[in-house]
Symmetry: none
Subunit: 309 residues, 2 copies
RNA sequence: GGACACCUCCUGGA
DNA sequence: TCCAGGAGGTGTCC
């Protein structure tokens, strides 16, 4: 039989704490989210996860109907992707497509599957849509409260069970009940994808920039340096992005190491300032780095170093 | 003396039988309503009538403070009207502004008057607000019962009297000549001067920080330096806010001047990065300043200087 | 310019 | 709990 599921996303403040969910019935739904995301990331991820879980459950051959209130998602998958591919994942205006990773996952997942998308008006009383909405919002709220318990749902029952195999499928309608009779609504935050805080992320990135490995890697540098990156070096010299990448890759040896992080502060919702010290062949230097969050992650926007007496 | 009045509206069922009222004291208040109206019509009309009656009483020159629990009314008069005018009385989404007639009356009435609006939380025990609320609701209830008697209040004593004219003003304390040539001290959106861009503002502030005048002024410094201000000085020394203010005020002489602004970039919606050069007794230095916008204006969050070869 | 979604805030009610 | 009257914004695409 055709599987019918609703998918929805939520982002408090947008961007802000975000959640996604898909829902078939009370014993078959899943949800997740991020400490910081957009409404559209949520809308996309809800569909991506639905496709992944049905596939993992061996239902890739089953017709699937996805109820979705986001025209962005529906148009992405049914209209816009072919054009974007043709243009190297560029939009009509030449700028890169947003949420590219999710969009490409969606594109691959949908290939060869029997899926139809149906637009439903949001908040109009459609039962499945409301159920997905509720669960997506619950996750966003949990992230907002920095709650430990993220209500992720049972997923596709049977698929989630490591032991599930063909023999188990003898049983009725929708697979086996999980060993735990409890519907398992609230999983403790799974350790595996414990989201690092933004502060941790940025310090990790900062540290990586001091390693020879990253300094030798032009594409990694290009990922980490903001398009408008500038730097005032410890010598007082001004550097721009291209010059910096060129200089680093041509002599990547690490010449200083991070000796202390003096502070990591959020100076705007999407900007973190890291103040730290390095020590190396040229002595102690105090440094600041301004990291900003973009659609494709945290980028170093500005750096300045000053030799310390 | 400054007149202080509360204004409030009420609509049973919303929309439904509706009332409005303003209140100064038990002998000076007015109320009215409609058989069918909205809460916001009531909130607007309460202020409109207050302005009309004070004007008719010859008190247009008197400072007036309006206590109002409706953010809709306060934002309308202090923030949104200029934008609506620019867009032909359209809202952000292109649809027409609601309650247009009342809004335009309010706009005309407020022009050239010395009015301040203060938001008070509804139903939080503010005496004047409760008194106005009571009277607005009484009118709405009267309309609901199709009562013949609508409690409209005494109005502005004397003003409501048809015979009131200039000669009557010999009487009490308040009142000043309405011919007052004073132009409008209304503190919302001064239309007269083009607002500076954020970039201009921040460069001006940055420049002012290099003057002896500002460096000597602890309270001005306290205004300009963010509560979490930090600095890496050109010597490599770390400074915090208090230490900086103390050092500057104890030896405020300007020891460098701004020789070039190398860039002003928005790194977040409320954060600007200024990169510039100074030259002074200790030679050339390249510097960066991170300014962030707070409720009380732009504040310097971080500064770093590096001597240039 | 259009569309869908995600919100934020205040008030008024039943 | 539920609903309505009002405004502001962002995320995304065409």
């Amino acid at each position: 039989m055709t599987i019918v599921a609703a998918a929805d996303g939520s982002a408090l403040g947008n961007p802000g704490p975000a959640g996604w969910a898909w829902y078939v019935d009370d014993s078959c739904w899943a949800a997740g989210g991020w400490p910081h995301g957009t409404n559209n990331m949520g809308e996309l991820m809800a569909v991506v996860d639905l496709l992944e879980q049905t596939e993992a459950a061996g239902l890739a051959g089953e017709p699937l109907k996805v109820l979705c209130d986001s025209q962005y998602v529906i148009n992405t998958v049914t209209k816009w992707i072919p054009g974007w591919k043709r243009k190297g994942w560029r939009k009509a205006d030449g700028k890169p497509v947003q949420n590219l990773e999710l969009v490409q996952r969606l594109d691959e997942l949908v290939a060869g599957r029997n899926v139809v998308f149906e637009w439903v008006k949001g908040h109009a009383g459609h039962e499945l849509n409301e159920a997905a909405d509720l669960r997506a919002r619950a996750v966003a709220t949990a992230y907002q409260r920095k709650s430990a318990a993220i209500p992720t749902g049972p997923g596709w029952a049977g698929a989630a069970m490591p032991g599930a195999d063909a023999s188990a499928k003898a049983s009725p309608a929708r697979a086996v009940a999980p060993a735990d009779p409890e519907p398992a609504l609230f999983d403790a935050a799974p350790l595996r994808d414990e989201p690092a805080t933004d502060e941790e992320t940025v310090v990790r990135l900062e540290t990586s920039l001091l390693t020879a490995e990253v300094r030798a890697d032009a594409s990694r540098l290009a990922e980490l340096l903001h398009p408008n990156f500038e730097e005032i070096g410890a010598s007082g010299r001004l550097w721009d992005r291209d010059t910096t990448i060129q200089a680093l890759t041509s002599s990547p040896a690490a010449d200083a190491e991070l000796s202390a992080v003096l502070g990591v502060s959020r100076v705007a919702s999407d900007a973190l300032l890291v103040v730290f010290e390095t020590s190396g062949s040229r002595g102690l230097a105090r440094r600041s780095s301004l990291w900003v969050r973009t659609a494709s992650g945290w980028k170093l926007r500005f750096h300045q170093g000053t030799p310390a007496v």
